[in-house]
Subunit: 333 residues, 2 copies
């Protein structure tokens, strides 16, 4: 996987520095194929590497329970910047910065940005090191470039699956966003959080495209989900069991709001929110997901019944209007 | 779900006895649809019920980590007899005994048993209360009936997905087995552990049938898996993260045996062994599953590469013969 920097030397140094004897290696799905190769490299330090093979989609999902259960001395977590402030096991984060050149994708994005003058720049941790150069390219093309920084994430302009505050913080100052990175997932998050035109510059395929159609499709789908959930009588309130996804208090509050409206609301705790897991409860007519806001939106069509965010649930119980929800953005917590 | 006794009154009493304020309710997949109804009943004690919605296939999978993470005072575990001797959170087991009448299925099984005189009787915990009556029916039909009891499980004649010692202990004294219960899964376990003809009396469909063809198909499939694994150079050794499935020492031993044979062996820890999880490691050519012996045998065709049991791995490294493996039974640990 030549597109990413796995920082093998730093990883070895960190293991030796801590004198770790047993190490848990955790990678998100896209990087997992590298795990056996990295394990071999870790072995050279004398430490025993164990690869976490459960799904991982973010730093919210640091494998602390597995680490404690396996008695490892440290976790090497790839692909995400640090998110959890405290972890019961020392964790080293390897952000897996992309080594691909972004120039061609940016050049292809410029024509798609021609209608707008003020551009907000966003990206994932894999490409934060390119933002200065991208800014320069855009400025040379006559654009005004703004990069948001709320300090909530590790880097200016950075977004993660469930946090678009760096984009939202400059919402009023820009006409459109340029997202640098692979795929539609994060760019859609920007579009749905800001309601602004969002153009992707994808350096892996050297392509540029708008996510406007996808964003519109998802907005329509969310509206239908809320309408359908308004008719439901029996709700499941999902509590995430991943360390950075547990919102017990939020789940209890939502449950109470539904019960006050005469609805039935059952608390369901789980590690992985999947269509298969929810299929096991045929009497539940709609869910509220307090675990990971993004996944149930992304995969909505795979679920038998609506899976709402907390704010969408507030629309259902009449405590928030659809307009307010759209203004806040779909992923506001 | 009228076929099972959910012991609602005892559950309420146990909660009140312990003074539990927060309760985790865990059910296997087949019983999960009852969870919202049971949660409502638990609410009447004043305790807050939370349903575990992650997959559960046995008492090996007691949701202790979820219980600790959610701060519950007790776990109500349905569908399995107690397996783990120690749990960090008090657990009450509700075995969910079946209330269906087994007579018709047994009558239908009798003609299928006509060739054999000495019959071993096995069942799951759901039907252990029927074994005395079933024995009488068989004795009236002229059979000699033996029920094994090694004391490893809760009840004489009981089998679970990974323990057929009650059947194996009477192997030499019987000509065939009668399994009382639903589906093929456990009966196949009996057949594969004993290499004896095994007849199912399924009281849910009032049907009786032999699992001989299925057992033969699986034996052939295991042989092919071993042959294929013998050609592999890169192995993944799976370590289960469920409390009753973790065999760290076994995994380390197997890893060493493979490395001594010049193979690469990477340790992979995970909670759910699924085809999707293993798909993430395209360079690994075969796995050894030290977690749950049964699942990788049952679902073999869903996996891209062979997934072996510990003993099958010993065949691959030349420390056990195929004949010895068959004699021990596929699920011997």
């Amino acid at each position: 996987m030549k597109n990413f920097d796995f920082e093998e030397e730093r990883v070895k140094q960190e293991i030796l520095k801590l004198g770790a004897k047993r190490v848990l290696l955790q990678l998100p799905e896209g990087l997992k194929p590298e795990a056996p190769r990295l394990a071999k490299i870790i072995e050279k330090t004398g430490a025993l590497p164990i690869v976490s093979a459960d799904p991982c989609y973010g730093a919210c999902d640091l494998a602390t329970e597995a680490a404690e259960s396996l008695g490892v001395d440290m976790i090497i977590h790839y692909g995400h910047a640090k998110l959890l402030k405290h972890a019961p096991v020392p964790a080293v984060y390897v952000e897996a910065r992309a080594t691909v050149n972004v120039n061609e994708a940016i050049e292809k994005a410029l024509p798609l940005l021609r209608k707008w003058q003020k551009i907000g720049l966003t990206t994932t941790v894999q490409h934060v090191q390119t933002l200065d150069a991208v800014r320069e390219t855009l400025v040379r093309a006559g654009k005004t470039v703004i990069i948001g920084d709320t300090g909530r994430l590790g880097y200016p302009g950075q977004v993660i699956g469930c946090d678009y505050t760096n984009a939202k913080s400059i919402l009023k100052d820009v006409e459109a966003f340029l997202f640098v990175g692979g795929g539609r997932f994060h760019a859609l998050g920007v579009a749905l959080s800001t309601s602004k035109p969002t153009i992707v510059a994808d350096p892996y395929n050297n392509q540029a495209f708008s996510v406007a159609d996808d964003a519109e499709r998802i907005i329509r789908q969310r509206w239908r989900s809320i309408e359908e959930a308004e008719k439901a009588r029996s709700f499941g309130i999902l509590i995430g069991l991943k360390p950075g996804q547990k919102n017990m208090e939020q789940a209890l509050q939502i449950r109470q709001k539904f019960e006050e409206k005469g609805k039935t609301a059952c608390l369901l705790a789980l590690k992985e929110v999947t269509p298969e897991a929810l299929m096991e409860f045929p009497t539940i007519e709609a869910y509220v997901n307090t675990a990971c806001l993004r996944l149930s939106v992304e995969d909505a069509q795979r679920y038998r019944v609506p899976v709402l965010s907390k704010n969408e649930a507030l629309v259902v119980v009449g405590e928030m209007s659809w307009e307010e929800l759209c203004r806040k953005g779909l992923f506001e917590n």
